[in-house]
Point group: D2
């Protein structure tokens, strides 16, 4: 399905190879986790950098882990203009950053990052997971349930609205699902 | 309908009186308009400051117009901690800011702001309108169509996913519609 | 976009040429208009018969109008096995059937059928319109508003749920919009 | 949440006590399973008869099982006007009907009905399950996967469209989820 994803010009220049996090989800991550100019952020599973672009453009300091070599090469090129961004070609399982405001994970085993993220976060900080399948959502939710103060999981379907002089209506085919977003506040 | 909107702690403290822009839409505005630490932003119709919170927390410099006195009072209190934010108790129709990266309007007559916004924006900058009704969307879309290089309008339905040991499923009632988001890039 | 529409075997045999009414909408028309074995139904704009299939398979007596010759030929072939179905190669604007339980229209000028439908319906009967655009919905809604006892308009987005041993999740791209369904009860 | 479910007048008279199957889902069950005047149908878990109303109003012969005594009493009263309907106050696990065109189950253990339903169905017949949770969907899907020729599971979110002279737009809060519908064709 070819659909215009309405990427901003900056992201249109990014090389891509694998599935990316789209602006609708990147924006929700930033807004619900309240990431701003003062934020210290750790990202696990940076892929080719579509979310990294937003995190580094907005936050004070970002550390991004990406274990796959092919992704890491593209990620490095795509985001080379950010001076507040540290990239690490590791899986991030034992990330050592502390006093962070948000940890954002986009990996298949997100539930394994819950405990370490909880330790790394400041009070009020957010653990965020980008999760395609319902099973993984459940595993991660249950792992976070006893540790965090507030947890919720949401999904943001998306549709284009076609405006023509003849008629206005939602586009026929739209993006019902990319991933669930799980947020846990410490 | 009482629903937990999952506001971040910072916004939970905000006083509110009228309809607000929720994080899902604030995040989309930031992501599709690519607003970041370097951005100069004008906001027309600040309301009680729910979007202003994000804009001022992320962008370099924000000027927010709000003509209603009751809203302006609350807006001023809610956002008093932002030093990069200028508030004006005016309707903004003749806003004089120039070389801005984004103009975001949340007013009933958004189509009347298209031309001035186009003049005020840098090349590549974005005009964004938050629009509840289909008729207003059409008016604004048509007004922007001849001036801007790229236009699109989207909507982001939202649903909570309930995770319980017994069963995982979307919440029954969800937020199908808040507003259409129209983006026009110069 | 190639998507399996999960048509029942009977409809898979139908020839098609133009846009069809899908089972999700046909089912909603039948359920909200409460069409059953006792119903007398008039259909305006039969197309190639995808809705006609359901109406004739369920109701007591169906009269279907289709003015386009190419569609009428296909419609005639597709539905030749129904003995309770009368097909008319006319636009239906002056349909003369009376004491009918439901009038279902799928034509671009549905608002022009409101008054005659109201006259033709029994008390408690339903006028139903299948309407792709918001403008047409509004025109038809306003035309029906003063005549009918109860009016509502709905839309049924649709998504496939992918079940795999590895993971269960909504399909990425789904059918957000086919048409609005307007129901007016006399 | 009080929302007008737009029930037809016939169903508004029905007494209710527990969750019911709404017209949007009843219609989809009928349309995708292609239930019509010639159909022989078995329903497991009739509840208070909201789906039974449609099945008995449309099909040739319906047998409905409901094991709960309180539901059965209401079901009996609500549907007493159907002469083609047989009600049984049993759980239906060992239903003995054969050569049926459709088996529709609305029970928490729907996966346990897959095998018997397969045996009971004619070639081309449909097993249908109304399933609130993702876990139950998966269990039932997997149980049906090896036996049936074609399986799919869908969901139909629903929204009202508000039409006012001032503005047309989707209702804010809508019914995102009632249940998944699983269809398996023999």
């Amino acid at each position: 399905m070819k659909t215009d994803m309405h990427l901003p010009p900056s992201l249109k220049k990014y090389k891509r190879k694998m599935a990316v996090i789209l602006p609708k989800d990147a924006g929700a991550i930033i807004a619900y986790a309240d990431i701003n100019k003062e934020s210290i952020v750790v990202e696990i599973g940076g892929g080719t950098g579509f979310l990294t672009h937003y995190l580094a453009g907005i936050a004070k300091k970002v550390t991004t882990y990406e274990v796959r070599e092919d992704a890491f090469k593209i990620l490095s090129k795509n985001t080379s203009h950010y001076s507040n961004l540290t990239l690490k070609n590791e899986d991030g399982k034992f990330f050592s950053e502390r006093e962070v405001d948000a940890v954002v994970v986009d990996v298949p085993n997100s539930h394994e990052f819950v405990e370490r993220s909880h330790s790394a976060l400041v009070k009020g900080g957010s653990f965020v997971a980008y999760i395609p399948s319902t099973e993984q959502l459940k595993d991660t939710y249950i792992a976070a349930d006893s540790l965090f103060r507030e947890i919720f999981s949401i999904s943001l379907p998306y549709y284009d609205v076609i405006v023509r002089k003849k008629g206005t209506r939602p586009a026929n085919f739209s993006l019902m699902h990319t991933a669930y977003l799980l947020f846990a506040r410490k």
